[in-house]
């Protein structure tokens, strides 16, 4: 006859304990003895135990006691039962959150009777809440310490596994073990207070020649309260995930024979590295940290490992054969990796942590909708989508307007230097720590150079292609981005189409193209994306915040003003939404902080020279902005300067937006939109009155923001148009009028643009400022002085080796060199003789060129200098050469390691932000569920994905 003692260990489990106790007491095979252990519960679990088992059968222990320790304590006090055979005294271990079926014990004992060698038996564990879901039917482990249940995630129990099987280990929840074996193996290792203690015990039992069986006829329901963090773990201070990983590794390494151990160490080190990288890619830095910490904590304590191994020395080698065949086969790791990559690419799959039995694919979440990445695929989508149709129309309009800009020589003019060079030149410009361009400069290359270089790399290394697409394609790109970005904001598709078309054809857009403002062009395309992401950032989305931060960094690099605007609006949003939703403050901080970190050294230069905030990438020319921009222009969103249509073009837009104010519904969005509009116009007014040096600032960016607000205000309530039309009569006429007025703006803008053409001052076929003879004749390090009389002044610049690259104009040379060069140029151009030419030569100037038609006075002055030799003079260009070759300036002093370190750091940070911003596995915010989350969680919430561990 058997004698069975049930030991129920409770720790803050009152929620489940009652049911557990009822189940224990109602067994069809009555228990011979029951013992309850209360590990310092604070929720009255001890009281429940006492009520069920009687005070004499309940043991109270401290809060930090582990499961194994508690069982040891019970067995130390529990006298042996009176049975005929010593092997027939059984201990039945139960967790407070594990309720066995009424026939569980009976089934277990029946199985034990079948096989006298069976020393440990475990029931089939099912989920506490979803009672048909299988949790585990025996567990095995891979050589890398990963738990393996052999079950599918969320597999339903349909009897498919119902046979008594030899397993490597069973959970301590419901484990039936012979007391004799327990004592021979000295039971659960108290040094493993939580997690994997069951595996360790069963392994040792297996190695000692016993059998471990899973009995499917015995069923128990398990809540996995510790693993799912339904309760706080007191037995250890460490994070359960790290603890689990650590214990898993420790158990493997302690129980493997020596040679297998060495292989296992090598495998685990490499495997951990791979996993860490994958975790980082999957934006689970906490997991990565745990992975590294767990492994290193084992490796840095070799003594503890030796102690563990010493304790398990007996039978380890001989018994390994019995264990080995139950371990997960080695190929499984690769299969899992493949699955993981596949699911990660699909954008959904979590990266598996150290083994869990629910892969627990979260319900597809709507929270992080990827409207910019929508890919419903196919021919039909392309031609049935209004967005595509809109884009094609905008492309057609653009081609018609830019007819003279599409083909020909170099593209340049306005703020755009003639585009020469390739991606590698831009990368070199960005990464070199001493810029040889011009007079030489040690300042940071503006970060937009890196952005352009990256884009050029994408465009097959051709900068001209990248610039052409971004600048000339600014209108269709802006339309596309506005259309895509408003997907969640505006449900009514015709309104979105109108919004996108109007946005793309704003005066800012045509002005941007005509004056070659690449910076504002990029900000203009990004602005709707900012708006779309911002709505998600204020909803607290972390991923959107990273993406927002990255794109804001890009925009800021091109036009720093956009950061100021966004920061002010972000501050307002923090005030308004910060209290409403949790995490908004942090998300906003991420969104606004990322650009500061990514652009750090360059931003310092901007802050030192605050005037540059209102300027943007590219050349600064006073003619590109109107310093006396009229009030009507500002209110009509017209930024002035070249390429801007008449003021009245946008009247329809303003009128429709004013009309939207009359609607009572949706007043919130309309008011926010108008708020953005008024704010943008106010900033634009301030900006348009500023000038930096003698260059007036151009209010394109704030006006684009104002227009965005206005368009949202007008388009958001537009679905009411359909209602009005259905209403008929006067309302129908009103609706028609509104539609006509609204569409007047994009139509008028498009026709004016096509009529006047997009060029001037931007144009195709700009002459390469570097004469070929000079390019051929200069050695490396020598430069060419270009002088051009312009507006009563003699403007000049130094060309080194070729036309300047985009971004070189934003480099600041040393002030002394700049002034020295200026006086030398003035002296040379005056023709007064002297050593000016020699001074120029000392700056590395080998050639002097004057683009034609050459001013006769200047020509005389240059001709009169004996140190200059005229090489050629024609209608198009004049070129002079230094009579004695200019010395090549000394190469700059050794590489600045600080510069290099920052570049690497910047690259790493960009990579990190990219990872964090890209869709991928999401970690749950488990902390929220920590203490007293309700047991009945809504099903829609994702499950905790921690390894299931006995509790």
């Amino acid at each position: 006859m058997h004698s069975v003692t049930a030991i129920v260990v409770a720790h803050d489990g009152a929620r489940w304990l009652k049911e557990t106790l009822t189940a224990v007491l109602r067994q069809t095979r009555p228990l011979d003895r029951v013992v309850g252990v209360d590990n310092g519960s604070r929720d009255g679990s001890g009281q429940l135990l006492t009520e069920a088992f009687g005070p004499s059968n309940v043991l109270s222990m401290s809060r930090s006691t582990g499961f194994g320790e508690a069982v040891h304590e019970v067995l130390r006090r529990l006298p042996r039962a009176q049975v005929q055979e010593p092997g027939n005294e059984w201990i039945w271990l139960l967790h407070d959150d594990c309720a066995p079926d009424t026939q569980a014990l009976q089934a277990l004992l029946w199985a034990a009777d079948q096989d006298p060698k069976a020393a440990i038996l475990g029931p089939k564990l099912r989920d506490w809440l979803d009672r048909r879901v299988l949790l585990e039917m025996g567990v095995t482990v891979s050589r890398s310490g990963r738990r393996d249940t052999g079950l599918e995630p969320r597999e339903y129990d349909q009897g498919q596994h119902d046979e008594i099987r030899d397993v490597l280990s069973v959970s301590t929840a419901g484990m039936l073990i012979r007391r004799e074996v327990w004592e021979a193996l000295s039971g659960l290792d108290p040094e493993l207070p939580l997690f994997r203690d069951d595996l360790d015990l069963c392994w040792r039992a297996r190695a000692a020649g016993h059998r471990v069986l899973n009995v499917p006829d015995a069923v128990a329901w398990h809540a996995e309260a510790s693993a799912r963090r339904r309760r706080r773990i007191s037995a250890s201070n460490e994070h359960p995930r790290r603890l689990d990983r650590h214990n898993g590794l420790l158990v493997i390494m302690a129980n493997l024979p020596f040679w297998a151990l060495l292989r296992s160490i090598a495998r685990n080190i490499s495997g951990s590295l791979v996993r860490t990288v994958l975790f980082l890619l999957a934006k689970q830095p906490a997991n990565a940290l745990d992975e590294v910490a767990a492994l290193s904590s084992i490796l840095v304590h070799p003594r503890r490992l030796r102690r563990f191994r010493k304790a398990r020395k007996q039978d380890r080698k001989q018994g390994y054969a019995a264990v080995e065949r139950l371990l997960t086969p080695p190929g499984a790791a690769f299969r899992r990796l493949a699955d993981m990559v596949q699911s990660f690419v699909a954008g959904e799959g979590p990266v598996d942590s150290a083994g869990r039995h629910h892969a627990a694919t979260g319900e597809p979440s709507q929270e992080d909708g990827d409207e910019l990445l929508t890919d419903s695929g196919g021919f039909q989508w392309v031609f049935g989508n209004p967005g595509v149709a809109l884009c094609l129309i905008l492309v057609a309009i653009t081609v018609a307007a830019e007819r003279s800009l599409l083909f020909g020589g170099l593209l340049g003019g306005g703020a755009l230097v003639p585009v020469t060079g390739g991606a590698s030149d831009l990368w070199r410009l960005y990464t070199e720590n001493h810029h040889t361009a011009g007079l030489g400069s040690d300042t940071w290359a503006p970060p937009y150079v890196a952005v352009l270089a990256a884009l050029s790399t994408v465009f097959f290394g051709k900068t001209w292609l990248a610039v052409s697409v971004l600048l000339l394609g600014c209108v269709p790109l802006a339309g596309l981005s506005a259309y895509a970005a408003t997907k969640t904001m505006i449900a009514y598709t015709p309104a979105r189409v109108w919004l996108a078309a109007t946005y793309a054809l704003l005066p800012v857009a045509t002005g941007v193209i005509a004056s070659g403002r690449l910076g504002t062009a990029i900000v203009f395309v990004l602005l709707p994306v900012y708006a779309a992401l911002a709505t998600r950032v204020v909803a607290g989305s972390r991923r959107a915040a990273w993406g927002f931060g990255l794109l804001l960094a890009v925009g800021t690099a091109f036009a720093p003003l956009v950061y100021v605007l966004v920061a002010i609006l972000g501050g307002l949003a923090a005030v308004s939404f910060g209290g409403v939703r949790r995490g908004v403050g942090l998300s906003l901080a991420i969104g606004l902080g990322t650009p500061l970190v990514l652009l750090f050294p360059w931003l310092i230069e901007i802050v030192r020279d605050p005037g540059r905030i209102v300027l943007e990438a590219g050349l600064r020319d006073a003619a590109l902005a109107d310093p006396r921009l009229g009030a009507d222009s500002l209110l009509m969103l017209s930024p002035g300067g070249p390429g801007v249509p008449p003021v009245w073009v946008t009247a329809g837009l303003v009128a429709v937006a004013l009309a939207a104010l009359l609607l009572r519904r949706h007043q919130m969005v309309v008011a926010i939109g108008w708020g953005a509009m008024l704010f943008g116009v106010l900033v634009a007014t301030v900006v348009s009155r500023l000038s930096v040096g003698d260059v007036p600032a151009w209010p394109g960016v704030p006006l684009a923001l104002a227009a965005t607000g206005l368009l949202v205000a007008a388009a958001h309530p537009a679905h009411r148009i359909a209602e009005f039309r259905a209403a008929g009569g006067l309302r129908r006429a009103g609706a028609l009028l509104i539609v006509v007025v609204a569409f007047a703006t994009p139509l008028a803008a498009a026709s004016m643009w096509i009529k006047s053409g997009a060029e001037d001052p931007l144009r195709r076929g700009v002459r390469d400022p570097m004469p070929v003879l000079a390019a051929v004749g200069s050695a490396k390090g020598q430069s060419t002085l270009l002088m051009r009389p312009k507006e009563g002044r003699l403007t000049y610049t130094l060309l080194s080796g070729g036309a300047p690259l985009i971004g070189e104009s934003d480099l600041k040379p040393a002030e002394s060199a700049r002034l020295g060069l200026e006086s030398a140029v003035a002296g040379l151009a005056s023709g007064r003789g002297g050593t000016y030419a020699a001074t120029l030569a000392s700056y590395g100037v080998q050639f002097v060129t004057v683009p034609g038609p050459v001013d006769p006075a200047l020509q005389r002055a240059l001709d009169s200098d004996p140190a200059l030799v005229r090489v050629s003079l024609s209608e198009t260009t004049g070129l002079w050469r230094m009579a004695t070759p200019a010395p090549v300036p000394p190469p700059p002093a050794g590489a600045d390691s600080r510069h290099r370190i920052w570049l690497w750091a910047q690259a790493a940070l960009v990579g990190l932000v990219l990872i964090l911003a890209s869709p991928g596995a999401r970690t749950d915010d488990l902390d929220e569920q920590y203490a007293d989350a309700p047991a009945e969680e809504p099903r829609g919430r994702r499950r905790a994905r921690e390894d299931r561990v006995p509790a």
Binding site: L629, A671, G792, T797, G820, S830, G834, V869, T884
Partner: protein
């Protein structure tokens, strides 16, 4: 407030008020239109000048710089010699030693010192004849016959307005007469208009004093059109090299011609001497003003004799040149000499003797296409001498005449014209020795020409120089210097148009701007 928010028109009213406020702010803050005044060029004294006297042997070389700057300076007069070594290999200028990194490069103190290295840097001069260090004092010296060309390299205070001239006087032979020429600065372009090789023995002197070789091209526009030579009219002058080219070898037939000496690379100092033959006179052709649609030929003396105008239209278009004379009593077109037809690429002549002979004058020529002009002046007597003048720029920044003489036989004078607006000029004598007399002003009414006879300042019989400085508010002034000597056989005469003194250079306002790469 609550009512305002709940009212259908509340939000609209708020927005309209805000828009009105914004309009007001934008309207009020709109800056007044600023008249964009382009920054003015700054005057700075010339810091370094080199001139070349093409054939000084047997004549007198005059070197003078108007007084002004107190900084050190020197003018070295030296014969030109080809350098012994290759100029490229010579350790000449050391540019790295002089990166004048200071911003005030417009001050002349630096150029005074720095310019000192200029002389050595040429590497083409040797055998210094003299060094002149004192501005404001005329230096003159008779040069022995057979001398090489002289290079006068001035720096610092001696450079600001340096004027050099060579004057030869022969009593007999084919060279009989007064022949004077300004020693010229090397340049890339020079025009000469005068009689052709068929009418005179015309010699072109070209000199290269620079460190780089000069690739010289010679183009001749005859009365029948441009002369195209199958041998090629180019020559290369190595540093320090000089050549005398007989134009007859290039184009034997023209009676009248314009010569354009230009360089494809490098600079050349060019001068042309015309010897009309025994008893017909000799003189140098002054450098004529660059082709322009309006040319003023100043400095026509009041002596009797023939006056022959040469006009060349070097372009590819025929033109009619309007001729107006600016005389003592006014400016007008002369009867039957209102205009002259000039075929494209050729030189035309017009006899002006009856119109302006015997009275000081200037001619104002205007045309649709750029033209170049010169004038031949013939002296009187049985054995004549000739003189030439040519189109010249106005002397806005002042002019200096290096060689003026006033003795019993020799007289010199200035012919000043203000063809467009009244002008006042200050005339300052710079004697070779003795005290410097006080300057005096001369007023020229608009569209008038005035002849001023230069009387030697007391105590300076030997020679003197004259600085002419238009006063502020004056219209453009053109002028010439006339030097005559009465001999029993006839009048010796030589003239030269006043050249713009290289006293000041205009330092343009500069701006370091990467936008310079764009038109």
């Amino acid at each position: 407030m609550k009512g305002l928010i709940e009212n259908r028109f509340g939000l609209l009213a708020l927005v309209l008020v805000a828009l009105a406020a914004l309009y007001g702010v934008a309207y009020a803050s709109r800056p007044a239109p600023v008249v964009h005044k382009p920054p003015q060029a700054v005057r700075a004294p010339v810091g370094s000048v080199t001139t070349v006297c093409p054939a000084p042997g047997g004549g007198r070389v005059s070197v003078v710089t108007p007084p002004g700057a107190q900084t050190p300076g020197a003018a070295t007069v030296a014969e030109i010699q080809p350098p012994t070594a290759k100029p490229e290999a010579q350790p000449t200028a050391k540019p790295e030693a002089q990166p004048t990194g200071k911003p005030d490069g417009k001050k002349d103190d630096k150029s005074g010192k720095a310019g000192g290295s200029e002389v050595q840097s040429d590497g083409t001069t040797g055998k210094p004849v003299a060094t002149v260090r004192q501005p404001g004092v005329l230096w003159q010296q008779e040069i022995t016959p057979g001398s090489e060309p002289l290079a006068i390299a001035a720096t610092g205070s001696m450079a600001a307005g340096l004027e050099t001239a060579q004057t030869a006087r022969e009593k007999s032979g084919s060279q009989r007469g007064l022949a004077a020429v300004r020693c010229v600065e090397p340049g890339a372009n020079a025009w000469f208009v005068g009689p052709g090789p068929a009418a005179a023995d015309v010699t072109l002197y070209v000199t290269n004093v620079d460190a780089a070789p000069a690739d010289v091209e010679i183009m001749i526009y005859s009365g029948e059109g441009p002369v195209l030579s199958d041998r090629g009219n180019g020559l290369v002058l190595q540093p320090g090299q000089h050549r005398a080219v007989k134009l007859r070898d290039l184009a034997p037939s023209p009676l009248v011609m314009a010569v354009e000496v230009s360089t494809a690379s490098g600079r050349v100092a060019a001068a042309v001497k015309a010897v009309l033959g025994e008893g017909k006179g000799v003189d140098w052709l002054p450098i004529a003003a660059e082709p322009s649609t309006r040319v003023v030929v100043p400095g026509i003396p009041g002596t009797a004799g023939l006056r022959e105008l040469y006009v060349t239209a070097p372009g590819e278009q025929d033109t009619v040149v309007q001729v107006k004379a600016v005389l003592k009593d006014g400016s007008y077109a002369l009867k039957n000499k209102e205009s002259v037809d000039v075929p494209a690429g050729s030189t035309a002549t017009l006899d002006m003797s009856t119109g302006i002979g015997g009275q000081p004058a200037a001619l104002v020529l205007s045309s649709d296409v750029p033209i170049v002009a010169g004038l031949k002046i013939t002296g009187t007597g049985t054995s004549q001498d000739v003189a030439f003048t040519a189109g010249a720029p106005s002397i806005d920044l002042g002019s200096v005449v290096a060689d003026a003489r006033a003795s019993r036989k020799q007289t010199s004078g200035l012919v000043l014209s203000a063809p467009f607006a009244a002008a006042t000029v200050k005339i300052q004598f710079l004697p070779k020795e003795g005290p410097v007399p006080a300057p005096f002003d001369v007023q020229i009414p608009a569209a008038r020409t005035k002849e001023i006879t230069l009387k030697a300042p007391p105590g300076s019989k030997a020679g003197f120089s004259v600085a002419v400085q238009p006063q502020p508010g004056s219209g453009p002034v053109y002028g010439g210097r006339v030097l005559t000597e009465a001999t029993p056989q006839g009048l010796f005469i030589t003239t030269q148009p006043l050249a713009l003194a290289r006293t000041w250079a205009l330092v343009p306002p500069t701006k370091d701007s990467p936008s310079a790469v764009l038109p």
